[in-house]
Symmetry: C2
Subunit: 146 residues, 2 copies
DNA sequence: AAAAAAAGTTAGACTAGCCTTACATTATTA
DNA sequence: TAATAATGTAAGGCTAGTCTAACTTTTTTT
């Protein structure tokens, strides 16, 4: 069990944004991060310095940003949580993409590994064996709302 | 649709703590709040002043604290979210009480009404019609973990 | 009813995370 | 290649939420 450097929800968001940039383009730039988090450039610099101190990113002023091995693990875990939550929200609960995504964004920093593992398993099980139940639920819910 | 005064996750925690005290004893005292939120007395005073300004509590220095009508609505909603989440975590996902409660505490500030309504409906439906599915899931999950 | 204890408040300090403005570096393009 | 544009950094300021320490008010005890 490796000890995680403790970082805030905010810093997790930066890490996740970097992860997506790295995944798509090989490296991240401050500009992209600022855009995707709706934050000003100056704020990003500070965050990058934090994440570097925590050992999660390779950062030097004016250089492209990449993830360390630790950073990659941590960021994948966050992105994974996001995806699992979003899937549950959309595919099982029938929430719209946008709301589901925003909720996942906020919730992902607040649930532990066990909960996520269980949610993955649960979601998969329902999807593979109880599609009728999902349908039934959607109708039931629509009834209630109507 | 009444406009909610916007308060932070932190202030929601104070409001919820006050709600529990009020429910159990008719009124809240700063001391209880400090204890239940693991915060020092001085910090509570500031929070109470905030919540009063937002119109959620009846507060005067050295007096007992109660909820306004608005505060009661808002606090019940938070407590409800907490309960719904916790139930889902424990009864459906099979998470232990402690972890479930802590997760609910953190997640409750980050999910909207629609999501919670859907989760209530979903949880109830499964509990009333698919107890076998819950059982099956627990076994499946235990297999995976083992 | 006076003293002691408990509870609550105030003021000042600290941190994290944000912003803005001015400046520095790097990249583009004329 | 020199000027311009784009990107990035640094410094200083702001707010929310926390703490501590000193003080006030209320409650309890003797």
């Amino acid at each position: 069990m490796k000890k995680k450097h403790s970082i805030s929800a905010s810093m997790e968001d930066y890490l996740e944004a970097i992860f997506f940039a790295v995944t798509r383009r090989g490296a991240a730039q401050a500009k992209d991060i600022a855009e995707s988090l709706n934050v000003k450039a100056g704020t990003v610099t500070g965050a990058l310095q934090n994440l570097q101190k925590a050992g999660y990113i390779n950062y030097a002023p004016y250089q492209l940003i990449t993830l360390t091995e630790e950073g990659m693990k941590r960021a994948s875990s966050i992105a994974h949580k996001h995806q699992v939550l979003k899937n549950f929200f959309t595919d099982i609960l029938g929430i719209g993409q946008d709301i589901a995504d925003k909720a996942a964004c906020r919730v992902e920093h607040n649930v532990g590994d066990e909960l996520v593992d269980r949610l993955v398993c649960f979601t998969e099980m329902i999807q593979s064996e109880s599609t009728d139940l999902i349908e039934k639920f959607k109708q039931e819910y629509d009834n209630i709302v109507a």
